[in-house]
């Protein structure tokens, strides 16, 4: 049972069925209309249904053959650290401005790998912040507040 659930194709199938099902159910409320005058739900319902079908086929094929191939390891450390660094940027950019957001983004991203050298990452953070201020804000004129709200 557990090998079956860790199987790459069974998981893919489940993911597709979930996505397709969610879209199809959500779209059903939007009004189907007729083929001649399609409502906003028509195309998404068809697509969602198709995706459920594709997902079911993928999973069924794998279950039928009983040759399970486990999904490769997911590495949470880089995924979580990078997500966090984006969130740090997102939270700070509107509150404290570009400089704080860039510094935080780079420093937090350093958590992603054990290869990080912290002295080095401070220099990268300073360098990238200066680069962003000069290139994006001054040269390209993107509307960032550098510091403060």
């Amino acid at each position: 049972m557990s090998t079956m659930l860790k199987d790459r194709d069974v998981l893919t199938g489940l993911v597709f069925i979930l996505i397709g099902g969610a879209f199809a159910l959500g779209a059903a409320d939007y009004g189907m209309g007729t083929a001649r005058r399609m409502g906003p739900g028509y195309f998404p319902v068809i697509l969602g249904g198709l995706l459920v079908l594709v997902g079911a086929l993928i999973a069924a094929k794998s279950l039928w053959r009983r040759r399970y191939e486990p999904i490769p390891d997911l590495y949470w450390r880089p995924a979580a650290a990078l997500a966090l660094s984006i969130l740090a940027f997102a939270v700070l950019i509107d509150r404290l401005g570009l400089i704080a957001a860039c510094m935080a983004c780079v420093l937090v991203s350093g958590l992603a790998t054990h290869e990080t050298r912290w002295k080095e990452i401070i220099f990268i953070a300073l360098g990238m912040t200066a680069f962003s201020v000069i290139v994006f804000s001054l040269l390209l004129g993107l509307p960032f507040r550098l510091w403060g709200q």
């Binding site: 083929a35 995924a79 997500a83 780079v106």
Partner: protein, 511 residues
Amino acid sequence: MIMDLLANLANLGHGFTVALSWNYLLYCLAGVVLGTFVGVLPGLGTVTAISMLMPFTFGLDPLEALIMLSGIFYGGLYGGSTASILLNLPGTPASAVVALDGYPMAQQGRAGVPLFMTAVASFVGGCTALIMVGLAAPAIVQIAMEFGAAEYFSMMLLGLIAAAAAASDMPLHSIGMVIVGLLLGMVGMDIVSGMMRFTFGVPIMAEGISFIVVAMAFFGLAEVITNLEPHVRRQVVQQVGGWRSMMPTRDEARRSVGAMLRGTPLGAFLGALPGAGPTIASFMAYTVEKRVSSHPERFGKGAIEGVVAPESANNAAAQTGYIPTLTLGIPGDAVGALILGTLIMHGIAPGPRVISSHPDLFWGLIASMWIGNFLLLWVNIPFINIWIKILSIPYRILYPAIMIFLCIGVYSVSNSAFQLFLLAGLGGAGYLFAKLGCPASPLLLGLILGPMMEENLRRALLIGRGNPMVFLESPISAGILSLCAALLILMITMPLVRARKARKVPGDQAG
């Protein structure tokens, strides 16, 4: 016929006068240098680079933006082969094949020769293919002018199926990803009824999910996460000597000419087909070269044909890949999708009218790509050792910089932090999909084509009074749909046939 030819030549001449003005030259140079830079860096693909830099081109005029983004694309192909040859680590998938024979040559201490020859082969392939684009595109436009909603819908379907077929050897996975992309394309305000679909009450979602955010999540963030997995290792590289060490032997030069003559048309043909991009072209060219060679045993050990043919093919394919994007508005691969997205962002409706209503844009772009291919020779060969130095920048320094580009780029899409949350979420999804063996480029294609497909489906069925036969009554549409069916059958049955063959003849290596 001859008159058409002359008219096209005149147009191309006009294109050169446009492309040679200093601002376009500058963006062309910036594009090819940036492209070579990211192509050389392992773990940073051209699609990633284009999507990362796209937000910063919003302020440019459309031609400047297209010229620069295209420069990044074909420049990336040049640079990608450098990483392939020196590290056996392809910078881009399209240059993976070049490693087969280029890397052994580098190991023999002759890295200069394949590096030089890839630059020459890319130049020949790219420039020849551009002439074909200039000749073929206006002809295809004349056919496409007759297209109605049914034909467009069928054509888009073909493009999506072909992209799915090309993206991976697991057809159901790719088809699933196309559909996920189409569904993501449904998010936002429905243009006909004005109803909000799947927006969860977030006002900014009314505009839909930006393809830039999706591209950066799937090709940027997910890639960076994968590259940071602890088991990924990188090696050190040798330097290359002067001009003399780059010269091929006379015999190699002779064999290269034939290889270029075969690789270029093959690549140009494959590139123009929807779905088959530079990657497939380079693999096919390698296979063909091995077949026609009188010494196939030399391949894999440093045969120059194995470097030259795929390299000319992938650059030819890169250029002819613009044909479906610019004439029909139907991109053949992820890069085409991004180029199409750029057109739309700049308010240019894609389709057969692009060439006639924006002649400066089309012919200027073609001419600039010619110029860009020429510039690349001078960007690459004399400065090869600088590119090699860049190749050895450790990833731990590179990735924080990529993160900054991703964050600032995504934020600038609509100056809203919401897009960044979307980036983080979609990036996680992209990482998971990569682990599941689901390719990302069909999703991107689906996302861009989704709204157009729905619009054309609605229009076609309205004209056909709700009868789906409308798709079969037009001979063009019926023809395209039967192609779709054939392709689908081929996709599903090929793996089965291959599996049966493998079971019947265990240990057979003839295939």
